[in-house]
């Protein structure tokens, strides 16, 4: 072992968090052996004219193909640094020589290493940012200008002339723990034993874009024109004949390479899992390795609009920190809240409101609160259930309109095993089903409906339903709906607990979702319950106080969440902190307004509740007023409820608009969100060759 290699391995184990972290595992991989696996030159090149000899027909090998394009022969490791087997076929019960059926081709690839996990190797020291890899990928995969399976961005630092730019070429890392595969509700993703390739089928995909949320590397590409996601396919057709992927073969900086994972390519001396700008490998255990030996400035900035830069820590690793790109001034930018995420704003708010609308009175009745028991027994319960059902359906409909392929919505439940989105969908669907069932049962006992049937169709319903245990059925359906709804809400929250999106990955999401369910639910159900009670000349104050209490808890919960969120993200230097920085600047005034509304509401609600408890809201002694509650109290509660609606919409719109993913640095134009928005705003994007797709779906 040469001294150089020793140094490489030191870097590998010492400065590499991931590698060090894995040391605790059981894996056979050690840093030393990792570096000792050095890929040697590919075997003698085939004779001219015999390039295809002994190779399968998946790809035509060029006449006189060069050594750089062939995958080298290698003695690979048994396990990778995370302790995962590299030969993946041993993890499956598949036969070794099965076909991948690429484009329905039954031939079996002739690559001897085809069942081993492969990955890219990026020598960051060498990338010149020439776009050859990107264009080779675009050419091979026929991708339109506005999307790319591989993109090159850069970070830069230093001061002229001591200036350094580091270009980063990134595609899919075909991770050990493919969060895209797990997140996808349609099961469009497959991790193949062959090459460990994580491949996605656009024909299965319904374009929800959830995989683009969870992937930390921006690998899956949602095409707003086609409405589906597609991504890097590892060029498995080339791999089958023993050629490296098209991007690697095209690289003119000798930066991009490819091979069995943990193999260090010839003439490389380092094999580490992170470079500045690359998200923590702990999220997905990506199958990419790096060499980056040249010293970089302590601070590396991004040229794109993301308010994130990277600073070298004491351990030599670069960590994201906030880059105050938009200064400190606070703005409204209310128009920017109106975005393509609108359907999701409506979906989550309506679904949460629907849950609360049903759950608050139902649970109160179950708990034996008399006034709610009375309400549940009333004809208006049907209206409430149907209202909740409609709100859920509207929410779900909104979520479907957010899909690139709305008519494939039914595929949303295909990945219950892994995807929180599937489970969320199922929970809400079952909630709707429970509500539907409950509505049917309530219909049978509903006096208005019975009268309608008798007068209109001369049907006596009670005769048909008398034998059925309707009360128990109603209750059972309600309990079922409540459980399903709670599960739906739980997984709705789980959908946003994403490591790649630290702004969401916080308990504030829980408090917001639950809080909104309570406050909006109390409001919607309150309107119905109080009006029913008023008509029935029943005392209103107990109901008002309870609903007000629920509302207040909901709002307070949200406020507590926001305080925690603000505290944690202010202390955070990662993309979550950066998103919060945008929240406090670009949307600073809007954010403040929402918080102000929330605070005022809490005090107003508290005051009203206290006045109620003190009996000050009663219209004492005035028997002529059956309502029994001061009219001004209703007015006050109505104003508070309205303000709450506004603050909930603003809050949710901020939630979706602000999130900054742990994504790869972009370039000045390409993969720069700021430029994309500008190009759309001014009309440059009307030219398709601009590479910025209009945001329609």
């Amino acid at each position: 072992m040469t001294s150089q290699i020793t140094e490489g391995s030191k870097l590998h184990s010492g400065s590499d968090k991931a590698g060090a972290g894995a040391g605790a595992g059981v894996g056979l991989f050690t840093p030393e052996t990792g570096s000792s696996i050095k890929v040697t030159k590919a075997n003698a090149l085939p004779k001219r004219g015999e390039e295809q000899l002994g190779r399968s027909n998946h790809w035509e090998v060029r006449t006189e193909e060069q050594a750089y394009a062939y995958l080298p022969k290698t003695d690979s490791e048994i396990e990778n640094r995370y302790g995962k087997r590299i030969d993946l076929v041993e993890l499956t019960d598949n036969p070794v020589g099965r076909s991948m059926f690429i484009n329905d081709n039954p031939a079996v690839g002739t690559n001897p290493d085809r069942n081993k996990q492969h990955g890219f190797f990026f020598t960051a020291d060498n990338c010149i940012g020439c776009h050859a890899c990107e264009s080779a990928c675009a050419e091979k995969n026929d991708t339109p200008a506005h999307l790319a399976f591989r993109s090159v961005g850069y970070v830069e630092g230093g001061s002229y002339p001591d200036y350094k730019r580091m270009n980063i070429s990134m595609a899919c890392n075909h991770c050990d723990d493919p969060v895209c595969l797990k997140g996808c509700p349609t099961r469009a993703y497959t991790k193949h034993a062959e090459y460990g390739a994580v491949l996605q089928d656009p024909e299965t995909c319904f374009g929800c874009g959830y995989c683009t949320w969870v992937c930390p590397y921006n690998a899956p590409q949602l095409d707003p024109v086609k409405g589906t996601v597609s991504k890097c396919n590892m060029c498995v057709d080339r791999l089958e004949v023993g050629l490296k992927p098209a991007c690697v073969s095209a690289c003119v900086g000798n930066a991009l390479d490819f091979g069995v994972i943990e193999d260090t390519p010839e003439s490389r001396e380092q094999c580490k899992t992170s470079i500045p700008g690359f998200p923590s490998p702990e999220i997905t255990r990506p199958n990419i390795r790096f060499q980056q030996t040249k010293s970089m400035p302590e601070e590396m900035t991004r040229t794109d609009s993301m308010p994130v830069k990277y600073r070298k820590g004491k351990d030599g690793q670069y960590k994201p920190v906030i880059d105050q790109k938009v200064g400190k001034q606070q703005h409204w930018n209310l128009a920017k809240l109106n975005s393509r995420e609108n359907p999701l704003v409506l979906f989550t708010l309506f679904a949460q409101a629907a849950l609360g609308t049903f759950m608050v009175p139902f649970l109160a009745a179950l708990a034996g609160v008399e006034i709610f028991e009375l309400f549940m027994a009333s004809d208006m319960m049907l209206v409430l259930v149907v209202t909740s059902l409609f709100m859920t359906s509207f929410g779900l409909f909104m979520s479907v309109t957010h899909l690139g392929k709305p008519f494939r919505f039914y595929r949303g439940f295909n990945n219950l095993r892994y995807s929180p989105m599937s489970r969320e969908g199922l929970g809400l669907a079952l909630f709707s089903a429970g509500l539907g069932l409950m509505a049917v049962c309530l219909l049978a006992t509903n006096t208005w409906f019975s009268e309608l049937l008798v007068s209109g169709f001369d049907i006596e319903l009670s005769g048909l339903t008398l034998a059925l245990p309707l009360v128990n059925l109603t209750l059972g359906a309600g309990v079922f709906a409540a459980i399903a709804g709670a599960a739906g809400l739980y997984y709705m929250n789980q959908c946003y607990q994403i490591k790649a999106r630290p702004f969401w990955n916080h308990w504030q999401t829980v408090t917001s979702f639950v809080g909104n369910s309570m406050s909006l639910g109390a409001m919607v159900s309150g309107v119905m319950i109080l009006s029913t009670l008023a008509v029935l000349s029943l005392p209103l104050l107990p109901a008002l106080q309870l609903l007000g209490g629920v509302w207040l808890v909901g709002v307070a919960l949200e406020a507590i969440g926001l305080i925690g969120h603000n505290r944690d993200l202010n202390a955070s230097e990662n993309e979550g902190g950066a998103a919060h920085y945008i929240q406090c600047t670009t949307f600073g005034k809007t954010y403040k307004l929402r918080n102000l509304m929330l605070t005022l509401n809490i005090f107003a609600g508290l005051t009203l509740l206290a006045l109620g408890e003190l009996g000050l809201l009663n219209t004492q002694g005035l028997a002529s007023e059956p309502v029994g509650v001061n009219v001004w109290a209703f007015v006050a509660w109505s104003v508070i409820a309205l303000i709450n609606c506004i603050s909930a919409v603003i809050g949710r719109a901020l939630f979706y608009n602000l999130v900054i993913p742990t994504t790869m640095p972009g370039a000045f134009f390409w993969k720069n969100k700021g430029f994309e928005q500008h190009a759309r705003d001014i009309g440059l994007a009307d030219n398709p060759a601009c590479g910025v797709a209009p945001l329609a779906h």
Partner: protein, 734 residues
């Protein structure tokens, strides 16, 4: 089973279904990469790939080459000839006959009225060599104007001039293989990763096999500068001072190769005397490179067993362009680095066929590096073409950059522009616009109807592009390579070769001179003219007589000289290996290069250097790459690199717009803040119409007449952002 999936989803990967591959050479830059175009069963072009067996690119292509097959059907292509009376009227489509008849009649009219030279022709480095030869024949032998030049005056003229002054003839003496042998490489104003990515790759391969010092002279921290062992961030326009100071160190420390100097050069004493004035102590204050570094670099270079220099526009596009080239040649001759493996003066050429036009277009004289000034050359060509030698002028006429001022003064009344776009590419756009407006008659022959210069034409001739034609290119290392005809011309466009032939028929001399029907026929004429000795008896280096299309394709390009009697398929890798130069004495000229500062310098009023250059995804004025989305998306609109410290002082923000002003005009660009450029410099890619060249001065080199695009001064003004955005969109038709 991974992640519980028993059933795999189907794998669908686009398949191009190539039925046959056709050989061609890239039509963008001068690297000369071999490309195979893939056609499917229906003979439709579906893909391109680098030819793995070609020595130049060894299977690699840059972004432009990878996507080149997408250009055939891109928007804006000319579909039929167009005609109009006045430039402010609308075009009418017309027939080829009418368009060519009108053109011929107008040329004759103008020449009859104002003299033969009042009609000028400006061509390009983009055509095929056979087309250049034919155009030269048409211009020199048929139309007979002496005001005939190519846009190579904007890119390579200084290299040509410098080579001629030093070695007695044009022609880069080195090759890419020199990277494999050199022990020190010095790059002057050459940003290979951006401009010639495949040459960069050849260099990188050599460096990875065996590291040698890489020294980069560039005022910007380009990727090459960043990767260099030593980066010299020079003050713009002062390369001659740096080289003189290096020569001062080399000569005064006795590091020169005196044996080589004595045997193969003349003029050493004059150079030695001159460089005494360039002590690094004084030179450092002019060129901005400190004394120690100058000495260090000079010693490394002189002591290397073999050292080479490459350069591109950083040298050529300057008021000292020709001098800079001659001085680089001085450096290499004094260190004995000419014509040996790894020791050379290699200009990295710009356009795909800049070399072809230099060799055969007759722009600067007569075909095959012949001179109008030389009677024997005039007689030889006149005899071969079958015309009276007196038809030729006895001295070269105006260069491209002098043709436009001659339109201003009224000397030139008619102009034919072939495959170039001066409205975007020439310095001082306002002046060009005014000149074009003044013309009585302007013909534009171009692949694209929307080429900006077409705004002022009276006749537009739609030309075919690249593999719609057949012929050859010569690359940076003198390699002649073949473009096969892969597909028929687009709509009613025609190959330039056909257009020249048809126009020739409409003139008296055109009836007398033979114009071969095929490019290969023209190639045979060129081969014939490349044989034999120079007029002073030396060997003719530009000898292609051993080549045929078949041999060129089999070899994937052959480097000249490749003579009739040469066997095999290998041409000559290096010139002057025998130490014999095509000068009268056979010795190369060491030329004392004194520096004078005539650049427009930053001042109080215009405090920034204005620098311009290329980006990898675009070529020239974007008529091609601007329409290929996967190229264009990386820089779809104009931008300017600016130092963040300077920006802070002026309150300029990243990704906002500014208005730049100079003594010529103004431009609106988006700002990219980066420490890649110094505090007193801004850099703007030149590809965009109505952008940087509205500002540039383009002072001319006294020898090459090449404009100094890269050295002038500018000022930054604020602009209303909405207004700027509107202007930006309006100026980007593509």
């Amino acid at each position: 089973m991974l992640f519980g999936r028993k059933k795999r989803k189907p794998i669908v990967i686009p398949s191009k279904k190539v039925a046959q591959w056709k050989y061609t050479t890239c039509n963008y830059c001068s690297t000369g990469c071999s490309i195979e175009i893939g056609l499917n069963e229906q003979n439709k072009i579906v893909t391109t790939r680098g030819h793995a067996g070609a020595d130049v690119n060894r299977g690699k292509l840059c972004i432009k080459g990878i996507l080149e097959h997408e250009l055939f059907e891109s928007p804006g292509r000319g579909t039929e000839p167009l005609i109009r009376d006045k430039h402010f009227e609308d075009f009418e489509p017309t027939s080829w006959d009418h368009a060519l008849d009108t053109t011929a009649t107008k040329i004759k009219e103008i020449q009859a009225k104002y003299g033969r030279d009042s009609f000028a022709i400006v061509s390009s480095g983009q055509l095929l060599t056979e087309e250049f030869y034919t155009l030269g024949k048409l211009a020199r032998g048929v139309i007979g104007t002496n005001n005939y030049d190519g846009n190579t005056t904007l890119c390579m003229a200084s290299a040509v001039s410098g080579y001629k002054r030093s070695f007695g003839a044009d022609g880069p003496p080195g090759c890419y293989d020199d990277f494999e042998h050199t022990h020190c490489l010095m790059a002057f104003g050459s940003n290979l990763p951006e401009q010639h990515p495949i040459i960069y790759w050849r260099l990188k391969e050599a460096l990875e096999k065996r590291h040698f010092p890489l020294i980069v002279v560039d005022p910007r921290v380009t990727m090459l500068a960043q990767f260099a062992d030593i980066h010299l961030p020079i003050t713009p326009g002062t390369d001659c001072v740096l080289i003189n100071a290096m020569l001062h160190v080399i000569i005064n420390e006795g590091l020169q190769d005196q044996a080589y100097i004595d045997a193969h050069t003349q003029g050493f004493e004059a150079v030695k005397a001159l460089v005494q004035d360039y002590d690094p102590k004084q030179a450092q204050h002019i060129c901005g490179i400190d004394e120690d570094t100058i000495r260090n670099v000079a010693r490394i270079y002189a002591k290397a067993p073999a050292a080479m220099s490459i350069w591109t526009m950083g040298i050529n596009q300057s008021t000292h362009g020709s001098d800079g080239v001659a001085n680089i040649n001085n450096l290499n001759m004094i260190t004995g680095n000419i014509g040996k493996p790894g020791g050379t003066s290699l200009s990295i050429t710009g356009q795909c066929n800049a070399m072809g036009t230099r060799e055969w277009s007759s722009c600067s004289g007569l075909p095959g590096y012949r001179y109008l000034e030389n009677e024997a050359d005039r007689n030889e060509i006149a005899d071969f073409w079958g015309i009276d030698p007196e038809f030729f002028p006895k001295k070269r006429g105006l260069a491209e950059t002098d043709i436009f001022p001659a339109i201003e003064t009224g000397e030139i009344k008619g102009l034919w522009i072939v495959a170039t776009n001066p409205m975007t590419s020439m310095p001082n756009t306002a002046r060009i616009r005014k000149a074009l407006e003044k013309l009585d008659f302007l013909v534009i022959q171009d692949v694209y109807r929307d080429v900006e210069t077409n705004q002022y034409s009276h006749v537009y001739l739609p030309a075919s592009v690249w593999a719609e034609k057949e012929g050859t290119h010569t690359n940076t290392e003198r390699r002649v390579n073949l473009i096969c005809n892969v597909l028929p011309p687009f709509k009613n466009s025609k190959p330039d070769f056909w257009i020249f032939n048809q126009l020739a028929k409409r003139f008296d001399n055109g009836q007398m001179i033979h114009f071969p029907e095929t490019p290969e026929g023209a190639f045979e004429e060129m081969k014939h003219l490349s044989k034999g000795k120079l007029s002073h008896g030396g060997p003719r280096h530009l000898d292609i007589s051993g080549m045929t299309y078949q041999k060129i394709e089999a070899a994937r390009g052959i480097q000249w000289p490749f003579r009739e009697q040469d066997e095999g398929l290998k041409g000559t890798a290096r010139l002057y290996s025998d130490g014999l130069f095509p000068t009268a004495s056979g010795k190369a000229n060491l030329l004392p290069i004194s520096f004078y500062n005539n650049n427009e310098q930053p001042c109080d009023e215009y405090p920034f250097w204005l620098n311009s250059g290329r980006v990898v995804e675009h070529f020239h004025t974007r008529t091609r790459t601007g329409k290929i989305g996967n190229c264009n998306k990386f820089s779809p609109t104009a931008y300017m690199e600016m130092n963040p410290d300077a920006a802070k002082e002026l309150g300029v923000e990243h990704q906002s717009y500014v208005r730049l002003t100079s003594r010529r005009g103004d431009a609106v660009v988006m700002v990219q803040l980066t420490h890649r450029v110094p505090r007193n410099m801004v850099f703007i890619p030149f590809h965009y119409h109505d952008c940087v060249n509205r500002l540039t001065l383009g002072l001319l080199d006294p020898y090459s007449r090449q404009p100094a695009f890269k050295q002038c001064s500018t000022r930054i003004e604020p602009i209303d952002q909405d207004e700027a955005a509107r202007i930006n969109v309006e100026r980007r038709a593509f």
